[in-house]
């Protein structure tokens, strides 16, 4: 088996439908959704049971969580395989500490459980696998050949987003009076805090004496964070569908200034999406 497994080769059964991230972002219906304020995920505001589209929005988000969990499992698994154990100073295949691989194996188990939970929760919410599309940008972040950048992109950016999403879903379950949803999201949230902390700890350990590498990793995280902000989907505005979960991020090793930067990145992503919506408005009108 090859070291490094390309995203195009990810194995899926026939239920899964892949949609590229660029196609999703450039979908002109996004502008329509932003205009109407009542349909579509983006622009529809915070996820609350009062929203007319709340059941569909929650089910779509749940399906997104499910496919994200699969890719997180695959990414952690590849990190177990792609790198050799060593000091990190060798030539050829990049090396990582033994303990880093153990963390990734532990994450595999957690993500496998999250997949099982997500499948059950999707059924609980009335969704079948494949009812919504999958995009694979999460796994793409897990293909970075530098293990430090890979962990920073996946464990800090991506799993950080998972903290925000699970906290949002947990609150939604609480407000909606759904103890099953609230219970499951609460437990998955605890695991995500652990995964983000792994990313934070390894970033600091592995780059303690290599500041340029640390800066490259943090820059990669900013790029991934901007993608994961999904045009304002995640942010700190009152109407952000997914809110930044500062308290849980702090537990996972995020500093205040890092969270301020993330909030700013999310704000910029939202402004860019609104500009795209504005540019597409004439096309929708016709």
């Amino acid at each position: 088996m090859r070291k490094s497994f390309p995203v195009e080769d990810l194995a899926r059964d026939e239920r899964f439908v892949h949609v590229a991230l660029a196609d999703r972002i450039n979908d002109p219906r996004n502008a329509q959704a932003a205009d109407s304020g009542s349909s579509g995920r983006r622009g529809a505001g915070r996820l609350t049971p009062e929203r007319p589209d709340a059941p569909d929005a929650a089910r779509a988000l749940m399906h997104g969580i499910f496919v994200g969990e699969i890719q997180a499992l695959e990414g952690a698994g590849r990190t177990c395989w792609d790198f050799e154990v060593g000091s990190g100073n060798g030539e050829g295949i990049p090396e990582v500490p033994f303990e880093l691989k153990l963390d990734m194996a532990r994450q595999c188990w957690d993500e496998a459980r999250h997949c099982e939970i997500s499948i059950k929760l999707s059924g609980h919410m009335g969704t079948d696998l494949g009812e919504f599309s999958e995009n694979t940008f999460l796994y793409e972040a897990a293909c970075n050949p530098d293990p430090v950048l890979r962990l920073t992109g996946v464990n800090r950016a991506l799993e950080g987003l998972a903290i925000d999403v699970f906290n949002t879903m947990r609150e939604f379950g609480e407000i909606a009076g759904d103890p099953v949803l609230e219970f499951c999201e609460d437990w998955m949230l605890a695991d995500e805090v652990t995964h983000v902390k792994m990313g934070s700890d390894w970033l600091r350990k592995l780059t303690a004496d290599d500041k340029p590498r640390q800066e490259r990793a943090l820059e990669f995280q900013r790029v991934v964070d901007k993608l994961f902000s999904l045009g304002g989907f995640r942010g700190e505005e009152d109407d952000s569908p997914v809110r930044l979960a500062r308290r849980f991020r702090e537990l996972a090793g995020f500093k205040d200034d890092e969270m301020d930067t993330l909030a700013q990145i999310a704000k910029e992503a939202r402004e860019e999406m609104e500009a795209i919506a504005e540019a597409n408005r004439p096309a929708i009108a016709h």
Binding site: M1, R2, F5, D9, L10, A11, R12, D13, I70, L73, E74, A76, G77, R78, T79, C80, W81, D82, V85, F98, K101, L102, M104, A105, R106, C108, W109, E111, A112, R113, C115, E116, L129, Y139
Partner: protein, 195 residues
């Protein structure tokens, strides 16, 4: 003690190879249930390798990396062959290697070790062997159920048998996961025979 440390080093090496490949295979198998089991079992074997890693210094091997090694080149050849399948249509071959050849070999080695070391002086090793064996039996059962659900035709059965035979020959050449003597020597007279 030296023999115990040598074996524990081989155990750590093979557990590492197994958890690494199980993790790597997750992205390559289309069957969702298999994907999730591989992820779960990946952790089991990583934890075993950690148990052996921590046991080595207690057996006076202060540099665990020194004994983290295969017993011979034949076992390396076995691991190379077992980890080779990658395509999405090769799930049967992947599972056969892990669950019909390697894990049974580990169960045999761990059981032999458990039954032939001192229950008092080497009790910590026995405790770890018991934990590992509990996982090995459960994982073997999961793997066998996945294989039986995937093998639906005579052609698929032939594939499974052919791959198992090829890998089993490599394991035979290696003498087991700890090399020759992994489960003792069947032809060596026992203490009872002399009595």
């Amino acid at each position: 003690m030296e023999e115990s440390a040598r074996r524990v080093g081989h155990y750590k090496w093979i557990e590492m190879r197994l958890f690494e490949v199980l993790g790597g295979w997750v992205a390559t198998v289309p069957e969702l249930d298999v994907k999730l089991r591989l992820g779960t079992h990946c952790y089991h074997h990583a934890w075993h390798s950690e148990l052996w890693h921590k046991r080595l210094p207690e057996l006076r091997e202060m540099n665990p990396e020194r004994l983290t090694a295969p017993p011979n080149d034949e076992l390396v050849a076995f691991v190379d062959a077992m980890t080779e399948p990658e395509g999405p249509d090769l799930t049967i071959e992947k599972l056969v290697g892990a669950y019909r050849v390697l894990i049974p070999a580990k169960i045999a080695a761990y059981t032999y070790h458990r039954n032939n070391t001192s229950t008092i002086t080497d009790a910590p090793t026995i405790r770890s062997l018991d934990f590992a064996l509990a996982d090995e039996f459960n994982d073997w059962r999961d793997g066998e159920m996945m294989l039986q659900s995937l093998i639906q035709s005579e052609a698929e059965l032939d594939r499974a048998i052919a791959h198992q035979a090829a890998l089993q020959k490599l394991m035979l050449a290696a003498g087991g996961i700890a090399g020759p003597g992994t489960i003792g020597d069947s032809y060596e007279p026992t203490q009872e025979a002399y009595a």
